[in-house]
């Protein structure tokens, strides 16, 4: 008897151990990939930022010298300013437009699917291609935008050598490309709304305007917040469009931090300063995200959710 039960016990334990191993094997690849391609590079970049690091050469520890150097560098400071300005200007515009278009699309009865597809298209295109397309559009002499402006009797804008115009061209392109993202989220939210509040509001004789502000908008607050936060986080990574449309120019007035870091590392071969720039960018994004999280929690707590 004892022999059988201990053999049985051994079998049960062995299969439980196999299950344990199996369970760990399942989750291992993602954890390994995350460690190797996210955590380790992050720490490594942090280390590189504290070094003079020529590619293929000897690296030398120089502590915070890179940080001192870039903080006094005009290109980097301009890029930081831009990196904050782009989301600050573009995201509210994208939100307002996107919300509006989502409302319009939601009220369509027929052909909504086709309109949705067309509306979503810009954000599905390869960003490099988007950059190229708008570079063509904004180009003086050959591009249609100035031509149309001229035909409408408006002054031609110099999108390339005028710093403000160049900045605006990037913002316009970003709006074209990413407003669909907002539309996507808000449309999802609109479609998930229950009908009853709207019906009772109409029965009570409320105007469309009132209904929007008192019913629609508050009920969609979580979606609005999600849309703005997600969009803003992505906006900090702006790179492809800027590279193609203005190359950071004129000078560096439209450059983003990613762009400057990229140029620095490739033009000087020294990865140290570029790493330091990346770290500072990361810190800014983290600070922004946490602030936004705090604000979100405050808003949701005080909004008296329906």
């Amino acid at each position: 008897m004892a022999i059988f039960s201990s053999a049985l016990a051994r079998r049960v334990i062995a299969s439980a151990q196999r299950r344990e191993i199996f369970k760990h094997l399942l989750i291992a690849p993602p954890l390994l990939f995350f460690g190797a391609f996210a955590i380790f590079p992050l720490l490594f970049t942090l280390w590189v930022s504290l070094n003079f690091w020529p590619v293929g050469g000897e690296h030398r520890f120089i502590a915070l010298a890179n940080y001192q150097h870039i903080l006094s560098d005009f290109s980097f400071r301009t890029s930081l300013r831009n990196n904050i300005l782009y989301p600050l200007i573009a995201v509210p515009l994208e939100y307002a437009l996107g919300f509006g278009v989502a409302l319009l699309i939601n009220q369509m009865t027929r052909g909504q699917r086709l309109i949705r597809l067309i509306a979503f298209m810009p954000m599905m295109l390869t960003p490099i291609v988007v950059g190229f397309i708008w570079k063509m559009l904004f180009y003086p002499t050959y591009g249609p935008i100035d031509f149309v402006l001229w035909r409408l009797g408006l002054p031609k804008v110099d999108w390339i050598t005028n710093a403000s115009a160049a900045f605006a061209s990037i913002v316009i392109t970003d709006i074209w490309q990413w407003t669909p993202f907002i539309i996507l989220i808000m449309l999802g939210g609109l479609r998930s709304l229950p009908v009853e509040p709207f019906e009772s509001a109409r029965v009570d004789g409320a105007s469309s305007w009132r209904i929007f502000w008192d019913v629609t908008f508050p009920m969609l607050l979580p979606y609005s917040i999600a849309a703005i936060v997600l969009r803003s986080i992505e906006a900090f990574k702006l790179f492809d469009i800027v590279l193609l449309i203005s190359g950071g120019g004129p000078g560096v007035s439209t450059a983003t931090t990613t762009l400057i870091a990229y140029f620095t590392s490739f033009r000087t071969g020294n990865m140290g300063p570029a790493a330091a720039m990346s770290v500072l960018l990361l810190i800014i994004v983290i600070v922004f995200s946490m602030t936004f999280l705090r604000i979100t929690q405050w808003v949701l707590a005080h909004s008296g959710r329906v």
Partner: protein, 283 residues
């Protein structure tokens, strides 16, 4: 009902039409430019094919003759990298999603519920942070400008997304089905492959398409980690852009081809995500 509401409706239609035009016109311009002659581009903008300019297939001919090598290289690389890395992402993601749905994990720094945080933190980190380090690492291990290196990078890039997407799917499949298979004598692996995976097929397809989409459009990693053999389409387009500007008729043609795969994915995914029953897995 009356003139007030129909006026409102007209305004709404007008506004929506404005937006749709705004969305469409740049793409129209690109398509039209792809069929122009250099002369048509340099003499100023022209809008209507046949009327304003002569339709020509010069850019497409160039694509298939002079620039053929680069173009084939770019598009083949993009296809291979995107399809293989997406397959791996979904493969690893599916098994891990099964694990998260069925088992309880408790490593000190990572528990089942921490998945959301993992994903979010990976999205928050600007890619420039990791790509600089990866450049040095890849260089050390001879992975620079290799297909293997890029596939690994893209798999890592898309795994969290695939995992996140699939976790809900796997949670929605009742355990009874696996238990029934176990009674029939199937081992764990067989249970997953024969019973669970087929039921999650729509989710797997969606995760694959989304991963493919992100890998195809990716730029910074490809820019810094490739320079010849493994260059993807966006990188080659960029090098053409600096090398031969402004040969826009040609670049427009390339652009159109480059955006076909993501557009197909967009159409397929729209059908997937807007049909909300798919969102809930199997119920």
């Amino acid at each position: 009902m009356g003139t007030a509401s129909s006026r409102a409706r007209w305004t709404r239609t007008a506004l929506l039409t404005l937006w749709i035009l705004f969305a469409l016109l740049p793409m129209y311009w690109t398509v039209v430019t792809a069929f122009k002659l250099p002369k048509a581009i340099y003499s100023g903008p022209s809008f209507i094919p046949g009327v304003d300019f002569k339709i020509s297939t010069l850019s497409w001919q160039t694509l298939l003759t002079e620039e053929r090598a680069n173009f084939i290289k770019g598009i083949l690389n993009s296809i291979v990298l995107a399809s293989v890395s997406s397959f791996l992402s979904v493969l690893f993601g599916a098994f891990a999603a099964y694990g998260l749905a069925r088992y309880k994990y408790d490593y000190k720094l990572f528990k089942n519920d921490d998945l959301g945080f993992l994903i979010v933190s990976q999205r928050i980190m600007p890619p420039i942070v990791s790509v600089l380090a990866l450049f040095i690492i890849f260089r050390t291990f001879g992975l620079l400008d290799t297909h293997v290196g890029m596939i690994l990078a893209y798999t890592a890039f898309n795994l969290p997304l695939a995992l996140y997407l699939l976790k809900d799917f796997f949670s929605g499949i009742p355990r009874e089905l696996e238990e029934a298979a176990a009674v029939d004598g199937y081992g764990k692996l067989d249970q997953i492959i024969r019973v669970v995976l087929p039921l999650t097929a729509p989710g797997l397809a969606a995760a694959y398409m989304l991963s493919f989409f992100f890998a195809w459009n990716e730029f910074l990693f490809a820019l810094m980690l490739t320079f010849d053999t493994a260059m993807t389409l966006p990188v080659i387009i960029t090098s053409w852009n600096t090398r031969m500007e402004p040969k826009w008729w040609f670049l427009s043609a390339v652009s159109i081809i480059a955006i076909i795969p993501p557009s197909i994915v967009a159409v397929l995914l729209d059908r997937f995500f807007m049909e909300r029953r798919f969102l809930r897995g199997t119920r």
